[in-house]
Symmetry: C2
Subunit: 362 residues, 2 copies
């Protein structure tokens, strides 16, 4: 097997990198050499240089390919970083991490095939970034499962930022082009629901929570909660009412919604105020979250000082009363599939063609 | 200074930990000893044991307090883990990380006062978890800024999970009690907006995007986009229309909204369909995202096959036409502050008391 020595300082693509070492590797991987020594520092969307110890300038490489192949897709690769011996993993015919293209000119790294060793990862990640830059790629998506947490510091030192995280993984991104970052933001909102349930005795289903804002001490309020992951508003509120009070209900409509910012973790909150029809009567209080629950006469509910003295509560009650008096249209629920994304989606709107309905704008 | 030797195996609180070593430290920190050797493995919300190499059972401690104080708040602390010498940081009178209580019986670790060294952090984090367990604390919130990324693997190995992440930090959590995890979820939704803008010639403002679903090739659609962090729906749509087409508009109302799941990063999407009044005429196309924009006669817009053949687009157009014919009420915008959280919030509802409006339910 022929080995070639390549001094990256002499390569035309090697601009301002200061790579001090040299590399030797098999001629069958010559096209891969372009991956090394390329300055991939982007101007946006990246914290490259935040941790100066991670810059190329302090690192020297001395690499040789191992002669012992492990299997068709993988091979070992021996190299030195700052004089320390490492054996790295590479994928046949490419020195880059296994990744698939996304629809926007970016790549999504295959989380299943990440090396476990941080030093191996450092080496392959640098090569991969250089390769993707040469290929004109834009955003790089790197999903690191909890069990690959040792790779997080490596990715940060190579210029990655956090994008979002779920319990079992953190998604990191790197924006390659020297133009404004076009990567989408992560989720920005939590979604809450509240349910007005009124029975045929004109009583409203109300609760007192165990944890509450001191300013609202003593208030009997409607059941509320957050919808679960991928849950509908119209099923989420039925579940919440059932969990908190034991009452089964049927969703009627969304009467209004509230939008507020900078709540949990600086995110925003959308709260949908729903009208529900009760299907059962017997209350069973959820001991974990709820102090007490009861059917409360509408007049008594409305006349609570904390409701009458608060602009928002007062307005919501006005809407509720108007709806009970059939002087108000809420948004009812309609499920349909669109060619836009071939997904079953839920559209909330006033019923347009119902002859019994009279929703007219001025 | 008196030094005491404490065998944690003999302590009543030391259950099933298998701590093999022993510790020596100043008697003035005797109350802190309780922090060590306590099994803090929770049954829920935790991946303790995922990485077996991090379990206590393989670790032995040998610690002595340094006699040289650095300042009032900090001190050095010498100890051994598996035979290796370390010098750890502690805070005067407490071996725990600096943290504040939250409203739900949990603690939020002060990100400003985290040690930088992973070994120091390992030691202090273990002590802190044991301390918080003794104190009956529930959820632990650990915000690790990008520059403290080296601490992420330590936290994972001690049983923390990811909760959410923003560009510059990852938030990690640990649920201590042996009962179901009550920590709130992270943000679940992205919020999009679309705007119907119609001028006095009965022309609709439409665009063709540079990136589109192939199935929608050729469709002239309304301007759409995502709202920014902490942005209102009613300002976000005005901004999006302006950015994409250069047309200034005034928000009229939300006519309907769509809810769909499992979109970007398995999150959900809420899309608000708005009605806007144009304040200018001259179109200026945004070259980055938009291929073309124009004023299109309403009839021509509505009769596009891709709209007529799609249940969702057709329904949304029906609503739009009904609204133009004043046979439909959307939700108008009202801003107010509530005692509930003392925040300026935006309530979207039909105008209840407007005598010109006739929004009546069946």
């Amino acid at each position: 097997m022929e080995l070639k020595f390549i001094d990256f300082k002499s390569m035309s693509m090697c601009k301002s990198v200061g790579m001090e070492g040299l590399m030797k590797f098999s001629s069958s991987f010559l096209d891969s050499k372009l991956m090394f020594g390329v300055n991939v520092a982007p101007s946006f969307c990246s914290h490259r240089g935040l941790l100066t110890k991670a810059s190329y300038s302090s690192t020297s490489y001395d690499a040789t390919r191992s002669v012992s192949k492990k299997n068709f897709l993988e091979d070992t690769y021996s190299y030195k970083i700052n004089g320390t011996n490492h054996t790295s993993l590479y994928f046949r015919d490419k020195w880059v991490l296994d990744a698939s293209d996304d629809e926007y000119g970016g790549v999504l790294v295959n989380a299943e095939r990440l090396p476990s060793d941080p030093d191996k990862f450092t080496f392959v990640l640098r090569a991969s970034l250089s390769h993707w830059k040469v290929k004109g790629k834009k955003g790089v998506w790197l999903k690191l499962p909890l069990e690959k947490c040792d790779l997080v510091p490596v990715a940060v030192k190579e210029g990655f930022q956090y994008h979002h995280a779920e319990r079992g993984y953190v998604m990191m991104t790197y924006w390659i082009p020297e133009e404004p970052c076009m990567l989408p933001s992560n989720a920005s909102h939590q979604v809450g629901v509240g349910g007005f349930v009124i029975n045929d005795k004109n009583e409203v289903l109300v609760v007192q929570e165990k944890h509450f804002t001191p300013a609202l001490s003593g208030l009997w309020k409607i059941p509320t909660g957050f919808i679960h992951e991928s849950e509908e508003i119209f099923t989420g509120i039925v579940r919440e009412v059932q969990e908190e009070t034991g009452i089964d209900t049927e969703f009627v409509e969304v009467m209004a919604f509230r939008h507020v910012h900078d709540v949990a973790f600086q995110k925003s909150d959308l709260f949908f105020i729903c009208l529900l029809r009760p299907l059962s009567k017997q209350i069973m209080v959820d001991d974990l979250e709820i102090q007490d629950a009861k059917w409360m006469p509408l007049v008594e509910f409305v006349e609570q000082p904390l409701i009458q003295e608060d602009d928002m509560f007062k307005k919501i009650i006005d809407i509720f009363i108007a709806r009970l008096g059939k002087r108000y249209c809420g948004l009812s629920v309609h499920q349909l599939v669109s060619k836009f994304d071939d997904k079953l989606s839920t559209l909330y709107f006033n019923t347009v063609d119902d002859p019994n309905l009279n929703c007219q704008a001025s």
